[in-house]
């Protein structure tokens, strides 16, 4: 068992309306990690007392089987609207709508299974990346595509492809090559990825020559 060698007294205090725990102003050293922990605690507390979503009358989160579908429906609606806007060519509005969907999905309470959020967010980030690419914002597109690929590694070939394309368009050819090779390891069968890799290598060869 770990030995308890000493006891640390943290300088904490409650706010007047008992809504949050903060660090007392008399604290000598501002501690980043302590503040981060308190933020997480306050956030959770806020979610528990304010949202009715999946919370029993006793302010305790309900069982995981009964997830209220409202949030999922809202996210789906936002996504569909954004897809429509994208197809109509209104890329900037599509980006905004995707962002709204992302915020909605991210605000899902943490006691609900995270797999749902991951799926939703994976799709939303990938689509937002596409929207950025359509207006030539390669950097933002690559970040979003990377987020999507990290959320869902398998079965998400388009996210991998999109980041590869963004990096290539930005001129970061070596990184693009690395990324697409990693993608091929995971999604070996995608012909698009192979084509992309060939493109990148062609450009690299041209660059060296």
């Amino acid at each position: 068992m770990a030995e308890l060698t000493h006891f640390d007294m943290q300088p904490l205090q409650l706010t007047d309306d008992f809504r949050a725990v903060t660090i007392a102003p008399s604290a000598s050293k501002p501690s980043r990690s302590l503040q981060a922990e308190l933020d997480a605690l306050n956030d959770l507390h806020h979610k528990l007392i304010s949202s009715e979503e999946g919370v029993l009358p006793t302010r305790v989160p309900g069982p995981p089987a009964s997830i209220p579908p409202k949030r999922a429906q809202a996210v789906t609606k936002l996504r569909d609207q954004a897809n429509d806007l994208y197809r109509k060519g209104k890329h900037v509005e599509a980006q905004k709508m995707y962002t709204a969907g992302i915020e909605m999905a991210r605000a899902r309470p943490s006691w609900q299974p995270c797999a749902i959020s991951r799926e939703e967010l994976g799709g939303l980030y990938a689509n937002r990346a596409q929207a950025y690419m359509a207006v030539g914002q390669w950097a933002e597109g690559s970040v979003d595509a990377q987020t999507s690929a990290e959320l869902r590694k398998m079965g998400n070939a388009k996210a991998w492809w999109r980041r590869g394309k963004c990096l290539m368009e930005m001129g970061r050819l070596e990184e693009a090559g690395e990324w697409v090779r990693r993608a091929l390891e995971i999604e070996g069968g995608e012909a698009d990825l192979r084509e992309l890799l060939e493109d990148i290598e062609k450009r690299l060869a041209r660059g060296k020559a």
């Binding site: 770990a2 990690s33 398998m154 070596e174 390891e185 995971i186």
Partner: protein, 701 residues
Amino acid sequence: MSSDYSYDEQGQFFPFFVLTVTGLVTLPLTYTLLRKSTDDERLAPRIKTDYKPQDGDAAQKLRSAHKRRQRKVTRALVTLLGWAIMGAMVYLIMTTARTASKIWNPYDILGIADSATEKQIKSHYKRLSLKFHPDKVRPDAAKNETVETLNDYYVELTKAYQALTDEEVRNNYIQYGHPDGKQSYSIGVALPTWIISDGNGKYVVLVYAMLLGVLLPYLVGTWWYGTLRKSKEGVLMESANRLFREYREEAQLSDVIYSLSSGREFETVFAGDQADSGLSRIESRISADSDATKSRFACGFSAKDKQALEDLSEGPRRKALALLWAYLGRIQLDDAALTKAKFEVAPTARALRDAFSAISLAYGNVKPIIASFEANQYIVQALAPGASPLLQLPHMDNKIAAAIEGDSRSHFSVQQFLGLPDAERRRRAVGKGLLSDDQYKTVLNIGSQLPLLHLEKAFFKVTGERCVLPSSLVSLVLKGRVVPPGTQNVPEVNELDLEDVDPAEDDLDAITGRKKTVKGPDGKPITVEENKVLPPLTFAPYYPRDTPPKWHAFLSDSKQGKMAVPPFTFTHFDQPAFDEQGKPTFAVQTLKAQFAAPPQAGQYTFVLHLICDSYVGFDTRVDITMHVEDAAKANKVSDDDEISEPDEDSLAGQMQALKGGQAAPKPRKKKAVDDSEEEDSDSEEEDDDTSATNTDTEDES
């Protein structure tokens, strides 16, 4: 209290006892002392160089201190002492006059020659008896003679005479060596009598009680609980617990370094006020701005790592982590005690890394496994994460490495730099503020001795089979050559060397692995002795221990990010990699690892990682596919050998029809066509079997 045993009253047998007991201890000790050490560290060759890093004195001193500690000085002293005692006892034995019975020689007693005749014996005896008869002789005090001794002497004379003349006595003498016949057994105890004399007995019992009841349990207890406290890797169990809690699925190199600081061993080293002294100095030095890269600090850690360090509360862990970063960043601390502590942190961190590696292997996620191997490399070479691998070469520092790399986005590896043409290398590396000519030569010299294993071929093989069967014992065969970085004129690989030859069926030595089979010059398999060639010890001037390099090979499943086959470790080669002049031999080395194939047939894609655990940037990653064939397909025998269904027209065919079996197939009408199509698919042949009564004399091959 006395027993029937005769104790050693004169103290003449005591030396034998001491001699035996000391011999029992000294002789094995001498053997272990003088026997040649089979430690890899002692047998392996070293990279020949005179290079000494600027601040590497402390590391060098610690290295020699560690070797001294290992040199068995106490054992040698104890052995010498043992031999001295044995020598003294032997001396005592030789010089103590023994009252043990000598061989009874009647001729000597009578004082005559061996060759005396009977008559001479008789007359001689008569004369002696006249002289020495007890009634006649008076005891002479000057010669210590008493009546008893005189009587005894006369009896001896008589016995001697009778032994030579009297039948009965002579028989006794011949049989038993003594005229009185069978002598009784006497058991003597080679210990002095004072042990059992009055009063002393209880002290003896007390001594035994102390030995058995107190000393022995104490020794066994300290040994047992000492081993319980440590895990298999030589790390305290508590440290292993902490490392287990620090394990993260997505651990990177910096995370591994952070976790290593949680070891309990550091708390014992930095106990009490030692934990705080010098911490501010270390932290200010490591957090200074780096002279090479903007995004990292002097010791090579990023802002995130700095935050992680500062979030730790002050104590041994913080100091250990700070020292570890200082060691990795090769920071000068300008304080003898701190510098010594800095170098001492590295071997402890390495031991903890072994424990972390065991934990990550149990979990099976590839990222932490690779991170832990990288941690080993970076700790041995004293490189920070994100630093250039060129710093492994002598005389290099961050500025020179940055100058060499120029505009390149990523760092050069050692083999990349040394693989450049010489003019290009010189242009980049030699100059003002960079390397001097001599230093450049040292770099080339050491570079040409580094054991870089270049993978030529990797394949799967099952001994004795053409293909891999499900659940068979597969060997992963790696064929590589040691090509030091910067070698020009690398010869082509001999294709024959890349094959893995199965041993002959009756070759027991090769099958059990004692010898190996290669293709001889005529293409036939021959067995040769396995020799064990050790690679040179790692060139790590900043690491305070001698380490031999090892290679680890494992297969990972990239789709799931998990390890498919656990790592196999290779510590030695089977061919010498360098000849006597130090030139590389380019001999093909074979590394084999065995594991069980998956139970289902199919195609399995893996990524093979071949990692050297002491050099940064010497690793190889290749995609490799294993085709597992169906057992049935592989065992297909030619159908001409099969027993065919009986022909319909024959008796057997009608019997079969009666039994309700299948209608026997008609004999082949397309026989002529079949003969020409010998490579026909098996299914077609199955239907058209030759009949059982086929009287053709064609070859059934």
